[in-house]
């Protein structure tokens, strides 16, 4: 069998394995209601993972996406609720700020890790200023969107597929997606062909900001109240999701569908563990174990590849 194909299929296989295991341990999940409930919180994670993926595409890493999602949820629960125009304006400014960070990272050739690490404090600080302790309220329309009931297929699944396909078309199929990925593969080649790396980075960072906003809003729609710390772990989740989905840190090799599937796998793996009723001491460790097991699958495939 074609190794490359197998590697691309791997995230989907992992998802299937985890899903089946979950069904076996807890048959009740094998229903519209069950899937809906179990996967709801995967939607904002998937969106954050896509945001991270845009940054990874251009060989950078975003350590601020978690606090950023938290900030969006705070803005959504306050400004956006009280004054929609102002709220949308604020979110637009945030996306522009992401673009500015991209420009800064490129122009001064800075390590993105530190810049976004600093940025994570900035986002958290603004969020704490806006909402010193959790609260606020989600706009009604947001709650409505996130609790929409679609016949036959649960909403989270539809949302995941739509996100994956749209981003896949844009990044993997379109002619501008090629430029974006090329910027990660060999930036020099791109500048030599007359493309502006600056512009590419700004656009990719702004896309990340945009998907970060979507993630924050969808999360707000689920939690119904804002919280600065609501998504602190999204930073690591989103990175893990991109890698689980077959992406690589360097070289512009990413997969949008894989990233979405990676995010779903992570969310499901958490549920699976809860169903196993492990002793609380080891519940945290089991999360690590499951990450290792899923990624060990990859090792088998890549090992075969080396032997080629």
């Amino acid at each position: 069998m074609n190794r490359r194909l197998l590697r691309q299929a791997l995230p989907f296989i992992s998802l299937a394995v985890v899903l089946i295991a979950t069904f076996i341990v807890q048959p009740r999940t094998m229903s519209y209601f069950g899937l809906n409930l179990m996967l709801q919180y995967a939607v904002p994670i998937a969106l954050a993972t896509i945001a991270q993926m845009f940054i990874i595409t251009v060989n950078d890493l975003d350590l601020s996406i978690g606090p950023f999602v938290g900030l969006v949820s705070c803005i959504g629960a306050t400004l956006l609720l009280d004054n929609p125009a102002l709220g949308i304006g604020a979110l637009a400014v945030l996306i522009a700020a992401y673009g500015a960070v991209g420009a800064l990272v490129h122009l001064r050739n800075l390590p993105s890790i530190v810049v976004t690490l600093g940025l994570s404090f900035v986002w958290l600080g603004i969020a704490v200023l806006i909402l010193p302790s959790p609260g606020g309220k989600a706009p009604v329309w947001l709650k409505a969107i996130m609790s929409v009931q679609i016949p036959v297929v649960p909403f989270p699944i539809v949302a995941a597929v739509v996100i994956g396909v749209v981003v896949h078309l844009a990044l993997m199929m379109s002619s501008y997606g090629v430029i974006a990925r090329g910027a990660g593969g060999n930036p020099k080649a791109l500048t030599r062909a007359g493309w502006s790396m600056l512009r590419t980075k700004i656009i990719m960072y702004m896309l990340a900001g945009f998907f970060g906003v979507l993630s924050g809003l969808s999360l707000l729609g689920l939690t119904t109240a804002g919280d600065a710390h609501v998504a602190d772990r999204y930073t690591l989740y989103s990175i893990a999701g991109v890698i689980l989905g077959g992406g690589e840190f360097i070289g512009g090799r990413v997969s949008p569908m894989g990233a979405v599937v990676g995010a779903l796998t992570l969310a499901l793996a958490g549920s699976f563990l809860i169903f196993l009723k492990i002793s609380p001491d080891w519940q945290i460790g089991a999360q690590g174990a499951i990450l290792i097991i899923v990624l060990a699958l990859r090792a088998l495939v890549t090992y075969g590849e080396q032997k080629r």
Binding site: L63, L104, R108, N109, L110, P111, I113, V114, V115, L117, G118, L119, S120, F121, V122, W123, L124, G125, I126, A127, V128, L129, P132, L236, I239, A240, I243, L244, E248, F249, I250, D281, W282, Q283, I284, G285, A286, Q287, G288, A289, L291, I292, L295, A296, R298, A299, T302, Y303
Partner: protein, 315 residues
């Protein structure tokens, strides 16, 4: 004069020291000179913990893009818990406790590299996953009980010589040793070479596997030392004692001028960066800034330092 200034400007660590100095000056200007040396002493004694784990993190980051040790916090906790539990407040058990704790830390390093090498898991994810397992081990072994360190250990951890913390002197010795290792040993050169180009390093006759293995073990080992001394310093081990070192270890390394793309390490920069990070928080606390403002300023200062220091050379 001008020449030495130009030389200094090119050293990546200068910026972190300059930033630390600036922050310190602003703080004592605000307090009108009150507590100037006391602040420095406090900074030194707390920064040593960040520095020691920063040194390990630096070695890992230097081995190439994507290499980073996220299991440092959990390893600190584990070694602290193991040390305190084995010592059980008895002076006679200090040595066995240290050996057990460092042994546990070393095992963590071996496990981490096993995941990276045998299972081919990217280091970020491998060390993240292992950190969960390590934390569970610490929880299940320590049961959340806080045991006090034996007196000699806490005396050692808090001792000062002419106002300089003993632990800072210890870490200074380790730092100098590591700087020599990087410049003048085959292992050090291998780390730098592997970080630039793993394949080329292999073809140039370096033992890539052994180098990476040793580096992950070294990082875990340094976390182990940190865990033991920190437990002695703060009166026992706690399950969350390592948490703050996750971001701090990465930030100090990179602000200190080590390249995140690998292949370039900088020992003095870690000192500057760790002092800067501590003094920054102190300054903002002294100003009485609210939590939000403090966070924002912290972030902006980190970005400011890295912007001033400039990035890697364009190539």
């Amino acid at each position: 004069m001008n020449q030495s200034f130009a030389y200094l400007k090119k050293q990546p660590w200068v910026w972190s020291f300059a930033a630390a100095l600036a922050v310190w000056l602003i703080t004592i200007a605000y307090t009108e000179g009150q507590g100037a040396t006391a602040i420095l002493t406090a900074a030194l004694s707390f920064a040593t913990f960040t520095i020691i784990v920063g040194l390990g993190q630096m070695m890992v980051i230097t081995t190439g893009p994507g290499n980073v040790d996220l299991s440092i916090p959990a390893t600190i906790t584990l070694s602290g818990v193991v040390a305190m539990k084995v010592m059980d407040e008895q002076t006679a058990m200090i040595i066995p406790g240290i050996v057990a704790a460092l042994g546990a830390a070393t095992l963590v390093g071996i496990f981490n590299y096993g995941l990276i090498r045998l299972l081919r898991i990217p280091p970020i994810i491998a060390t993240l996953s292992s950190s969960f397992l390590i934390l569970s081990t610490a929880i299940s072994y320590g049961r959340g009980i806080r045991i006090k360190p034996p007196l000699p250990l806490s005396d050692f951890a808090t001792a000062r010589i002419f106002g300089v913390p003993l632990s800072a002197i210890l870490v200074l010795v380790i730092s100098i040793g590591l700087a020599v290792v990087l410049k003048r040993t085959v292992y050090g050169r291998s780390v730098l070479a592997v970080g630039q180009n793993m394949r080329a390093a292999w073809l140039a006759g370096m033992n890539v596997d052994r180098t990476r293995f040793a580096t992950y073990v070294l990082s875990a080992f340094f976390s182990g030392i940190c865990g033991i001394v920190l437990s002695g310093f703060s009166g026992g081990a706690a399950l969350n004692m390592g948490e703050e070192f996750l971001l701090a270890s990465i930030a100090t390394v990179v602000i200190g001028g080590t390249s995140v793309a690998g292949g370039r390490a900088n020992v003095p920069g870690i000192w500057g960066a760790a002092l800067f990070m501590y003094l920054l928080v102190t300054m903002l606390n002294t100003f009485g800034a609210s939590a939000g403002v403090r966070l924002i300023l912290t972030g902006l200062m980190i970005i400011g330092v890295i912007v001033a220091a400039g990035g890697e050379e364009q190539r």
